[in-house]
C-alpha cells in the first residue's frame, strides 16, 4: 500500500446556519479544502461524501453525484458513505484506501449534515433509527437514552461522578471559545452545567452535544507527491475500524467499548506507535461519558482511570494528552456526516501548527476516534506530521 497524505483542509462554521442548504455547505467546505491544497485547476479522480440522513432531513439523495456536479469535478467517481455518526471517519478511510491501493491519485472527502431546520423530536427519532429495530428502537430508545444507561453503569463500576461529566463539558466549552468554527462559543461553569435541564437522567443538557449544521472536507494524495501541493502535508499513519453487537445489551460487558479497543489497536499497530506516542487526540464526545470511556478504551488511560486523568488536567490543552482542543462534538457541534472529517481537520491543523490560540505545542502525532451507532461501528485514524 502507498502512504497517503492530507494536503488540504476546509470547513464551514458549525452551528444553526439559516439560509444555507446541505449542498451549499458541502460546496463551501470542499472549495476551501481544494484551495488549501492548491488544487483548484486539478482533475480529481474520486469524491467520497459522508452523510447520515440527507434523504430524511433534506429530501435529497445521491448527494455525492450532486456535489461533483456543483464543484465541476465531472467525471470524477462519486460515492456517498453512510456509517451513522462515524460516516465522516468511514469516508476518510475510503479515500485513504482508494489512494493507498494506487487506484486513485487525487481524492476529495467531504462530510456534511443539515439538521437544525427540523423539529428536535423528529431528529431524535431519525437518529434513533440507527439502533436495533426490534429490541431497541420500538421501545422509544434514543441515543441520549443509551448514553444515559451507559453513564449510570459507568458511575456504578468506575466511580465516575456527575461532576466529572460536567468537567468534560466545561473543558470542551472552554476550548471551543478559541475555535472560530465552533457551534457553541460561550463559557459555561461547572455549576451551570450541573443545574442544566435533564435530558435523560443522569445526563443533562450540557452533557450532550448540540444539533448542528455544517460541513468539512479534506484532499488526499500519495505522500510521495504531497509536497508538490502543500508545505505542511500530514501523513495518515494508521487507521482502524471495528464493529460490535447492534443491541447494546448483548455486549459481554456493557461498560466496555470493545470496537474502540479493537479499532485503536489496529491503528496503533499499523502506525507502529503506542498510545504514549500521541500528542493530541480528538474523541467522539457526543455525550460527556464517551470522552472518558474512549480515553480508556483507546489505551491512553487504564480502565477506570480516565476521570482521574481529567481531574488532574492531563486532558487540557496544556496537559499530557490534550483531548478535544477543538471543543469536541460537545461545543464544536455535531452535524453528523461532517463530524468525522472535522475531527481529522482539527488534528491536521494541530500538526501543521495552525491551531492558533488552541495550539497544542509541538504536536507531531495525533489520534482520532469517530464513534458510530452507540459504539457498534468505530473508525480510528492516526496522523503524523511529515518533516
Amino acid at each position: 500500500m502507498r502512504d497517503v497524505a492530507i494536503i488540504g483542509c476546509g470547513m464551514t462554521k458549525f452551528g444553526r446556519l439559516e439560509g444555507k442548504g446541505l449542498m451549499d455547505l458541502l460546496a463551501e467546505a470542499s472549495l476551501r479544502a481544494i484551495d488549501d491544497a492548491g488544487a483548484g485547476d486539478r482533475d480529481f479522480d474520486a469524491v467520497y461524501v459522508a452523510n447520515f440522513a440527507a434523504g430524511e432531513l433534506t429530501r435529497q439523495t445521491a448527494i455525492a453525484s450532486a456535489l461533483v456536479d456543483q464543484l465541476s469535478l465531472l467525471p470524477a467517481a462519486a460515492d456517498r458513505v453512510e456509517n451513522g455518526p462515524a460516516s465522516g471517519g468511514s469516508a476518510v478511510k475510503m479515500g485513504l484506501l482508494a489512494v493507498a491501493s494506487g487506484a486513485y491519485d487525487l481524492v476529495l472527502v467531504a462530510g456534511g449534515e443539515k439538521m437544525t431546520h427540523v423539529n428536535t423530536n423528529i431528529i431524535t427519532d431519525i437518529v434513533a433509527t440507527l439502533s436495533q429495530p426490534d429490541v431497541e428502537y420500538v421501545h422509544g430508545v434514543t441515543l441520549p437514552s443509551l448514553a444515559a444507561m451507559f453513564t449510570r453503569l459507568y458511575m456504578q463500576h468506575h466511580g465516575v461522578t456527575e461532576k466529572h461529566l460536567a468537567m468534560v463539558a466545561a473543558k470542551n466549552h472552554a476550548n471551543a471559545l478559541k475555535n472560530p468554527y465552533a457551534h457553541l462559543q460561550k463559557a459555561v461553569t461547572i455549576e451551570g452545567i450541573m443545574n442544566s435541564v435533564m435530558i435523560a437522567d443522569p445526563l443533562r443538557l450540557y452533557h450532550c452535544c448540540p444539533i448542528s449544521d455544517g460541513a468539512a472536507a479534506v484532499v488526499l494524495c500519495p505522500a510521495d507527491v504531497a509536497k508538490k501541493y502543500s508545505d505542511a502535508p500530514v501523513r495518515i499513519a494508521g487507521f482502524g475500524q471495528a464493529t460490535d453487537t447492534h443491541a447494546v445489551h448483548e455486549r459481554e460487558d456493557p461498560t466496555v467499548l470493545k470496537a474502540v479497543q479493537l479499532a485503536s489497536k489496529q491503528a496503533f499497530e499499523m502506525a507502529g506507535l503506542r498510545p504514549s506516542d500521541i500528542d493530541v487526540a480528538e474523541l467522539h464526545d457526543a455525550f460527556a461519558i464517551l470522552e472518558i470511556a474512549q480515553s480508556e478504551d483507546a489505551g491512553f488511560f487504564r480502565k477506570g482511570e480516565g476521570a482521574k486523568a481529567l481531574e488532574e488536567g492531563k486532558t487540557a490543552i496544556d496537559g499530557e494528552l490534550p483531548i478535544n482542543p477543538s471543543g469536541g462534538l460537545k461545543a464544536r457541534g455535531h452535524p453528523i456526516g461532517a463530524t468525522g472529517v472535522a475531527q481529522i481537520i482539527e488534528l491536521a491543523w494541530q500538526l501543521r501548527g495552525e491551531a492558533k490560540e488552541r495550539q497544542v505545542s509541538g504536536a507531531k502525532r495525533a489520534y482520532c476516534c469517530n464513534f458510530g451507532g452507540f459504539g457498534n461501528n468505530v473508525v480510528t485514524h492516526i496522523l503524523e506530521r511529515m518533516d
Partner: protein, 111 residues
C-alpha cells in the same frame, strides 16, 4: 398478544440470543429454537428520558436494561415508581409506541 417473552437458543452450541440473529454469534450456526426467558428479571441500569422521540407519549419515558436468570439481557420500557438498580421486574405485554398511524406492541417491565 404474546403470553411469554422469548429468546433464541442456538441448536449447535446452546448460546442464547435476544434478539434473533441470522447466524449464532458464537458458532455461526443457523438453527435456533425459541425458549421462554422467564417471569422475573433484575434491573441493571435505567434512565428517565425527558427528550422524547416522535411517536412516544409517556413523559418522562422510563427505559431500562434487565437481566434474566439465564443471563439473557433485554432493553425495554419500565413502569412503576421508585425505580432503582437491582429491582425485580416482570415482563408484561402492552402498547409501546406509535409508528406513523400504527400502534406497536411488545413487552414492558413492571414491578
Amino acid at each position: 398478544m404474546q403470553e411469554r417473552m422469548t429468546g433464541f437458543r442456538c441448536k449447535g452450541c446452546s448460546r442464547l440470543h435476544y434478539p434473533r440473529h441470522a447466524r449464532c454469534l458464537s458458532c455461526k450456526g443457523t438453527d435456533f429454537e425459541e425458549v421462554e426467558l422467564g417471569n422475573e428479571c433484575k434491573l441493571l441500569t435505567y434512565t428517565k428520558l425527558y427528550a422524547l422521540p416522535e411517536g412516544i407519549e409517556m413523559s418522562p419515558l422510563l427505559l431500562g436494561i434487565v437481566e434474566f436468570p439465564n443471563g439473557v439481557r433485554a432493553l425495554g420500557q419500565l413502569t412503576g415508581d421508585d425505580i432503582k438498580v437491582g429491582l425485580r421486574l416482570r415482563p408484561r405485554w402492552g402498547k409501546l409506541r406509535t409508528l406513523g398511524e400504527k400502534d406497536i406492541y411488545g413487552f414492558r417491565f413492571e414491578q
